[in-house]
Amino acid sequence: MTAIRVIVNGAEVIDNVAPRTSLGDWLREGRNLTGTHLACEHGVCGACTVLVDGEPIRACLMLAAAGEGSEVRTIEGFDADPLMMALRDAFHRRHALQCGFCTSGMLITAWDLIRRGKASSAAEIRRGLAGNICRCTGYTNIVAAIAEAATAAEGVGDGE
């Protein structure tokens, strides 16, 4: 077992993990943070996307042991974040999810695209979403929801 100390959604967590445990499995089974979904487990589908030290990563392609000293933010850690609230609202109104399995990964990827200013057009959003697979929606409503949230975020930015 490997000892780790990780900040998860703002709270320090000390734990012992088997080296082969992925960050995603540890979050779900060790921390009961089941908003992070694991599907393909080889980096193709994007459902398990979380932030590590502020940047999106695949939680299936990072060992929990390698997270030592890092700050992890899962979908549960965005509750009062204004940009995430705008995204959730747009996903809801635009019908940008059906079964919801991909949604936490979609939201975190979208949050990062908007934050980095990489959601200025539908084409740019589609490129940025290429690593997140949705089998229900056909993406059209997801792209529209992200575009809407990006426009709203721009307005907020301009006012500051």
Binding site: G43, G46, L61
Partner: protein, 277 residues
């Protein structure tokens, strides 16, 4: 699937990593960004007894720059190159390549050194660094040495790196402001591995011309005739097209089928046209 059990160690510096690797010859595997290794572990295509985590060694994250070259530590990530958080020797070629490499969540962890050491034939960096004539610094129990980036990969997932050596840094000659580059990646979707990939670089001030194919059924394929034609001062598209055909003819050992040959020809010409237009 889940990875089979393994031990995990995180050495404090490169010297300690070299010792661990030497002690566990054949049993241990280096873990850098893990964006290729973790899929292999999860699919149980690889089952090393021990992982040596070098992902956070400060020596591998260093960057340096002088008048003629940029040195990038092996641990520099694709996203750092994409965002220009590290010096760019290539007049924008490397950031452009990084942008189309896999997905942002992968680029945030995947590293330059890891990509070179793995030598996936469809990967971007081996071909790009061959086109830039980069030099690859490695360290092992017998000390440090420098290898040419042009023929570092020797085959599919095969390199000149010894089993007990670690890639530490890439030393990349700077392109002059007058240099031009072209890049064409043919893939079924944004971020997917390439079906064909071509890099063309011309730096007239240095009389330098290089055309390199990736995803070429083996290590990066340096197109000698096309490169020579691109280095010249009178660059005629028809002559370049003939040079590309000659290079593809000389690559019989790659066993391209008719479709692959069309893809490689298209990629090479698209990259070349970006340079000469």
């Amino acid at each position: 699937m889940k990875a089979a059990a393994f031990d995990y160690v995180r050495p404090r510096n490169v010297a300690a990593a070299v010792d661990l690797l030497a002690a566990d010859k054949g049993q241990a595997q280096l873990l850098a960004g893990g964006q290729s290794l973790l899929p292999l572990l999860n699919l149980r295509l690889a089952s090393p007894a021990r992982l040596i985590d070098i992902s956070r060694l400060p020596e591998l994250a260093m960057t340096d720059e002088d008048d003629a070259t940029v040195t990038l530590g092996a641990g520099v990530t694709h996203a750092m190159i994409e965002d220009r958080r590290v010096p760019d020797p290539s007049q924008g070629l490397m950031p452009h390549v990084a942008l189309g490499l896999a997905y942002r969540a992968v680029r945030n962890r995947g590293t330059l050194g890891g990509s070179l050491a793995l030598a996936d034939p469809a990967a971007e960096w081996p071909a790009v660094l061959a086109a830039l004539e980069a030099e690859i610094g490695v360290v092992g129990p017998n000390g440090r040495r420098r290898l040419s980036g042009t023929n570092f990969a020797t085959g599919i997932y095969a390199t000149r790196l010894a089993e007990d050596e670690i890639v530490t840094a890439l030393r990349i000659p700077k392109l002059s402001r007058a240099a031009r580059w072209g890049y064409a990646k043919l893939a079924r979707k944004a971020g997917a591995f390439a079906d064909a990939l071509a890099v063309a670089v011309a730096d007239p001030r240095r009389g330098y011309g290089r055309v390199v194919l990736g995803a070429a059924n083996g290590p990066p394929l340096v197109m000698t005739e096309a490169g020579r034609a691109l280095a010249g001062t009178r660059r005629d598209p028809e002559q370049l097209r003939r040079a590309v055909e000659t290079d593809l003819d000389s690559a019989a050992d790659r066993r391209f089928d008719a479709y692959q040959r069309r893809l490689h020809r298209a990629a090479a010409m698209r990259a070349i046209v970006q340079v000469i237009q």
